[in-house]
Symmetry: C2
Subunit: 437 residues, 2 copies
């Protein structure tokens, strides 16, 4: 799982020219999966290379069976999305594609293969999985401490935090793909504690920069997943924007947690970057303070400690309506990195199944806001503006406490390491549109 193999060779080039651009997120070393629809056609599974997307239905039927590469069991007609395909088959398919896209492939074969490729800009992306259940964790200790100190100054970090990868069930139905507009939600607001609450459009609308991961292999109800096997169940990663209405949240969240403050929309990036592609970017799990407790045995594993972390550069940008009109580029709000998460993805997944809860292919889990130690590493406006008390200055001269209508938030993620090709996640975009009146 963590091994470096031939597919990570940084010298490797593709006959798809755009994949060889040193700045692309999608060199041949990446090959993330997706679901897409060419114009006016049905959705189908695909794989990204450079600025193209390969139609897996075409590949399974036309390329893989008849070509020099071995026939591969991918039931393309059934594969409306990735939920319909077993994780081992997807991984084997990825390896076949790697061979097909290498630069030394016979140009005649290239010409034929090109028939099953589309320009990324010409297609529409859908959710890569039918997401059954969505779980959102809270695994950045910096985020948890910051938010805790705003809401509970005496008791910022709960006593359970260093023992439990804290998480809660999210809303699956309202997960949308990058590019979908986000309508400002209505909700109960009680910012004036002396008066009754009012039902109004949310005032303190926020984003959260998160890392998401898809379950590729489930477990039976009643059968926990040992920490040593956790990553076998993870297929790949995406970017997640867990839009949050802070005014709704503050009033509704006790005692059962966030509900409508989050469930109006969650945006995901459409490309699933596989765990295999990420192998060169694995780092040790978060180094705990010597005074901190060690994880309980069911969450503790040597391999997980050594390789459970992920070094991914995450960036958040904003572009307001004014900035668009004045052609001012999107402005970076923060950078952070999941290597700073207190818990690893494997620990989140193992904890989730530790009571026997059955995970299913296509379930989405997210890390919670990824914030770092520093001020410019804070992954949401709540933290960056300290609950709105320290507004941000934008290059357009505007100020922001929270999101205004017309603001677009763009999440980016990419991995860089000396001796390896850069790989990336593409973008996760969403623009706030006004509430219904």
């Amino acid at each position: 799982m963590y091994e470096i193999n031939e597919t990570h060779d940084p010298e490797l080039k593709s006959w798809v020219e755009s994949a060889n651009d040193p700045n692309t997120d999608f060199p041949i070393q990446n090959l993330p999966f997706c679901v897409f629809a060419p114009q006016n056609e049905q959705h189908r599974a695909g794989v990204i290379i450079g600025d193209l997307v390969a139609d897996l239905e075409f590949f399974a039927q036309e390329v893989l069976e008849g070509s020099a590469v071995p026939y591969f069991l991918f039931d393309a007609e059934k594969a409306v999305d990735l939920s319909d395909v077993r994780i081992d088959r997807l991984m084997a398919l990825r390896y076949e594609l790697y061979k097909i896209f290498k630069e030394d492939v016979d140009p005649k074969v290239q010409d034929f293969i090109a028939l099953g490729m589309h320009k990324r800009d010409d297609v529409v992306f859908g959710s890569p999985y039918r997401i059954g259940d969505y779980t959102d964790f809270y695994c950045s200790i910096y985020h948890a401490t910051n938010v805790g100190s705003m809401f509970r100054p005496d008791n910022p970090l709960m006593p359970n935090y260093k023992y439990i990868p804290i998480g809660y069930h999210g809303r699956a139905s309202s997960i949308v793909v990058s590019g979908t507009d986000i309508k400002r939600p209505w909700g109960q607001n009680r910012s004036d504690a002396e008066k009754p609450p009012v039902y109004i459009p949310a005032k303190n609308l926020d984003y959260e920069m998160e890392l998401g991961f898809f379950v590729g292999r489930g477990n039976e109800l009643g059968q926990p997943i040992p920490i040593s096997e956790a990553e076998v169940h993870i297929f790949g990663l995406c970017l997640v924007n867990d839009w949050s209405a802070r005014d709704i949240q503050a009033w509704e969240y006790q005692p059962l947690g966030p509900f409508l403050s989050k469930s109006f929309a969650t945006t995901i990036s459409p490309y699933v970057v596989t765990m295999e592609a990420l192998a060169p970017f694995r780092v040790p799990a978060f180094e705990r303070d010597p005074d901190d407790p060690q994880p309980l045995e069911y969450l503790n594993d040597e391999t997980n400690q050594k390789f459970g972390g992920l070094d991914i550069k995450l960036e958040v940008y904003i572009q307001t309506e004014n900035m668009r009109q004045e052609n001012i580029e999107a402005h970076m709000l923060s950078r952070s990195n999941p290597k700073d998460l207190y818990w690893t993805l494997g620990q989140m997944l193992t904890h989730h199944a530790s009571n026997g809860c059955n995970l299913q292919t296509g379930d989405l889990m997210a890390s919670g806001t990824v914030s770092g130690k520093e001020k410019d590493e804070r992954g949401c406006l709540l933290e960056l503006t300290w609950r709105g008390t320290e507004p941000l200055e934008l290059p357009s001269g505007e100020q922001r406490r929270f999101l205004e209508d017309g603001d677009e938030i763009i999440l980016k993620g990419y991995c860089e390491r000396e001796g390896f090709r850069r790989i990336g996640f593409g973008e996760c975009r969403g623009r706030i549109v006004p509430a219904d009146s």
Copy 2:
């Protein structure tokens, strides 16, 4: 929706003899929907009458098209479960079945129809819907006050309680049908605050008596549902046992709410009792204390106030392993009634969609523990034994603070009203089996 019509006529009898038993839950006035599988066959949609279940595939293909009743659009081949059929078609189908099952039907037709009927005891029931998202509310003010006073004696009822139908997202994947064994989950327990937590089988295992309702018609993302239209979206009701591990819950629930303490299993009864069948049992919404605030406008509607309540007698029984061996009948633990819920089902649904969250056909919502004012109306052991401090005495001479291995919990529900036939929900059963070692 609330009108009494010919299908509620208490004098009406069926040629299915068992449906005329005055104690049956399933007279011709009920006709709940379900999904079932005859021995070794595939699951399909069905309707219950007396001790029989009607195969809707057979009815759609053989009975409804060719008989005197009008042809009906029910695509039986596609209908793996009720999610595949529109709510208006299910309701029209129910009306056709009502006419077919009336006692005045030609005996020759009866003989033919009987070919599409199975004994309820001979089939296996599945989940009536593919449940996309599951939401659990907290709408009994008696339950909320009791639980609150145990955990937060100074502040039992949060200030938001009388304004918001408090709810949280639950886990959909681990919802199981009545009769499924419930394995005692493992989890983190920190009953001794002086020591680190331990990962052990849950000690304080509990049930929660809840009422569930299925969304039969969804809404688009970003489009709230007015309170006046809420019930149009509800197809029918079932019983829900929201199994809860109280020791896991107490340690994990802050600040994001219950997670693994609930997600190991939730049991539902397999029959969906339609809103139409329940029309005679509608009562006014909960009468608020004169000092209590009125619901905010988006949750306030005259019809909802007049008819939004439901008069359903809910009962909880326990049968321990010892009781079974000694042939001691199941022992009633409590009776309660959703007419005592602080919020109506319509208010729960409208609140859920009030931020634009898209509900989908097959979503399950549950009321939260249905408790009443009185001690014997408390819908879970946490309340009945006051967190284990007042153990219950069982007829076998045993005591219970929380559930032991081998205990079976049986939920029942039925409606009775002078001048109407009794209708019922059947049972929602689950037996605790030991944790894995």
